[in-house]
């Protein structure tokens, strides 16, 4: 079954970039594939405004409703394509595979389904790319893979990516979408929060920029670790972001959240997010932020004590 996973997909070959300095051998960039994901039907209905949209038009508009600007969820690879300068992305660690260590009931089956659905071996995509001329380390959750939940592999891939960014002295951008820590890997999943955060401690101490982009939905252990730790926090409009989901809050303490709670805009109003940015503006904004934070861009060349 698993052998067929990548068969149905169209591939676009992205040429590799030169191996960065001081990179461990196992981290050497390879030629990677970026998949063009196509929705099944010819048209789709906007869940916000109800408008019936042609799939082609929606695709052309980066899956943002042409009428009401509703941001449809998109895959990690689609995001990648919207962001990086053509032919600059080199994926890392796509050979890490999940192990059902706890022999958790039904986990193996769920993993298989997730691989099929997301057409990826796990729910994380990491690598090195260039955005508007500036090299950067990129990490993405894949929402289609078990809700973007974080187990050992996602945690390890993100941690490695951050560690390599330190070696390469590159900024990091993480695009989050996740239900949180993956319960099927128990305490190991929980500690991926600490592991990724610890790597970010080192990144910060190295004086490198970290931009966290929160997309719909980002919750739980991911909000309580790397997603909240950016020097700059950006969210897509309308994205739901929080620690506990509204259903769990309702079940646990019988509190009904008011309309609009946990949206990107709610979070911004409460001081938790810097910028709410339309998908169409994301690349340009990231490009500017990366340039303004490049070493030596401002005052950076002077020696610090």
């Amino acid at each position: 079954m698993f052998k067929d996973i990548f068969r149905k997909t169209k591939y676009v070959t992205i040429s590799s970039v030169p191996a960065p300095r001081r990179l461990a051998p196992e981290a050497a960039p390879e030629t990677v594939m970026i998949r063009k994901e196509l929705p099944d039907g010819l048209w789709v209905k906007c869940p916000k405004c109800g408008e019936v949209l042609f799939t082609k038009d929606l695709e052309k508009n980066a899956k943002v409703c042409t009428k009401c600007s509703y941001h449809f969820r998109i895959s990690a690879r689609e995001r990648l394509e919207l962001l990086v300068d053509e032919g600059t992305f080199a994926e890392w660690d796509n050979d890490l595979q999940t192990v059902d260590v706890l022999e958790f009931p039904g986990y193996s089956e769920k993993l298989a389904e997730a691989r099929e659905k997301a057409q990826m071996p796990e729910g994380a995509l990491t690598g090195r790319g260039v955005i508007e001329g500036v090299p950067v380390v990129l990490c993405f959750n894949e929402g289609a893979f078990m809700m973007g939940s974080m187990g050992s592999v996602v945690g390890e891939k993100f941690t490695r990516a951050i560690e390599r960014a330190i070696d390469l002295r590159l900024p990091v951008i993480i695009f989050s979408t996740s239900g949180g820590a993956r319960m099927q890997e128990g305490i190991l999943s929980l500690y991926q929060m600490a592991k990724t955060s610890a790597a970010l401690t080192r990144l910060a101490e190295a004086g490198l920029l970290y931009i966290s982009v929160l997309t719909d939905p980002t919750f739980g252990g991911v909000t309580a670790s790397y997603a909240s730790l950016g020097d700059i926090l950006i969210a897509e409009p309308g994205a739901l972001i929080g620690f506990t989901g509204p259903r769990v809050i309702k079940q646990t303490i019988r509190q009904e959240l008011p309309p609009g709670a946990q949206t990107a805009e709610f979070n911004q109003e409460h001081g938790l997010i810097d910028l709410v940015v339309e998908r169409s503006q994301m690349r340009s904004l990231l490009g500017r932020l990366l340039r303004y934070h490049q070493e030596g861009a401002g005052y950076g060349s002077a020696v610090r004590i």
Partner: protein, 340 residues
């Protein structure tokens, strides 16, 4: 009196029977010492049997026991002095997290503890041990001072989880927890985290980035509450017992999975049967680790803490780049790699 737990009932019945025999023997002047001794022996065996092989769900029940000692019950057993410091200097003083400066075997330490209430009133005050962002920000503030003044940090974990309500969302519960994780990873002082009761998901982990993670014998440390897990997976919260087993969250499991470093023995029957002995044992283990850690250089402590975190996680890695994903997957069982 504590409500008896279901699995304790055979033991309690036996102990009741012994009491009756003793009373009968005394009243009637009949010597029943042989029978009583036999029953007493039986009780000891039963007790060891029950508490020696507790099922995960039973551990959950002990860990959550309403009479389980909380931080304040241990404080005088552990410390010669404890000066509680309050507030996050931003918004409020969260009573679900308590912290301050203490003297532990003559050494000033910073202490951070999650505290559940002993009765309804106190539980409302302490939000049932579920901290709000201000609780984590208080912890962070006090830990920053520990780093500044080169004081070891002792954290004590006992929470069903971080507060989950609108207020917590409004004030950035995720950010508050994440800041603790980042900060603890960066400190140069020894950190010992002890799970004293419930270790409930992210809300517990926020105090869990220790050089050493201790777990009391009858505690659990879990990515999710068993009820929530059952509810999400099987749409049936009553299947919490199955979830408890599936989640592998007992102290033994956590030791095996590389998260916990040592299990602190509890008195037979659990810490609530003898808080004094539980506290003494905890103090002994804490001192052992602390005196070892205090011998390490600050940068080494920090590096070792990173190394410990870095090693947590189990996955499989393809060793040769030319090997195909599918081939690797079919070899999954033979090829499991545990990172070190």
């Amino acid at each position: 009196m504590a409500q008896p737990l279901e699995f304790e009932k055979p033991l309690l019945e036996l102990e009741q029977k012994i009491l009756e025999l003793q009373k009968f023997s005394a009243e009637k002047g009949i010597d029943l010492s042989v029978e009583i001794t036999t029953l007493e022996h039986k009780a000891v065996v039963l007790k060891k049997n029950i508490y020696g092989r507790l099922q995960p769900w039973q551990k959950v029940q002990i860990a959550r026991h309403s009479e389980r000692p909380n931080f304040y019950d241990y404080v005088q057993l552990l410390f010669e002095d404890f000066i509680e410091m309050r507030g996050d200097r931003l918004f409020a003083d969260d009573r679900a997290i308590v912290g301050g400066v203490a003297l532990f075997k003559g050494v000033p330490v910073t202490v951070i503890a999650q505290v559940k209430g002993k009765d309804t009133k106190e539980n409302l005050q302490r939000n049932f041990g579920m901290p709000h962002p201000e609780g984590y920000r208080k912890a962070l503030r006090l830990m920053e001072q520990a780093e500044k003044f080169h004081r070891p940090i002792l954290t004590f974990i006992d929470t069903p989880g971080a507060a989950c309500d609108l207020a917590a969302e409004e004030r950035g519960q995720g950010e508050a927890i994440a800041r603790c994780l980042v900060a603890m990873a960066g400190y140069h002082v020894p950190i010992i985290s002890t799970v004293m009761g419930e270790g409930g998901s992210g809300g517990a982990l926020a105090l869990g980035v220790g050089n050493v993670v201790l777990m009391l014998e009858h505690t659990f440390y879990s990515v999710i509450a068993p009820e929530s897990c059952a509810s999400i997976l099987w749409k049936d919260p009553s299947k919490a017992q199955e979830a408890a087993t599936a989640l592998k969250f007992t102290a033994e499991d956590c030791l095996r999975l590389g998260v916990a470093d040592e299990i602190v023995k509890e008195p037979l029957g659990g810490a609530h049967k003898d808080a004094h002995r539980a506290g003494e044992e905890l103090a002994r283990v804490l001192e052992k680790h602390l005196s070892r850690l205090r011998g390490e250089a600050p940068e080494v402590l920090r590096q070792k803490r990173y190394d410990k975190l870095r090693a947590i996680g189990i996955f499989q890695e393809k060793q040769r780049l030319d090997q195909s994903v599918s081939e690797t997957l079919t070899n999954l069982d033979e090829d499991v790699k545990i990172t070190e």
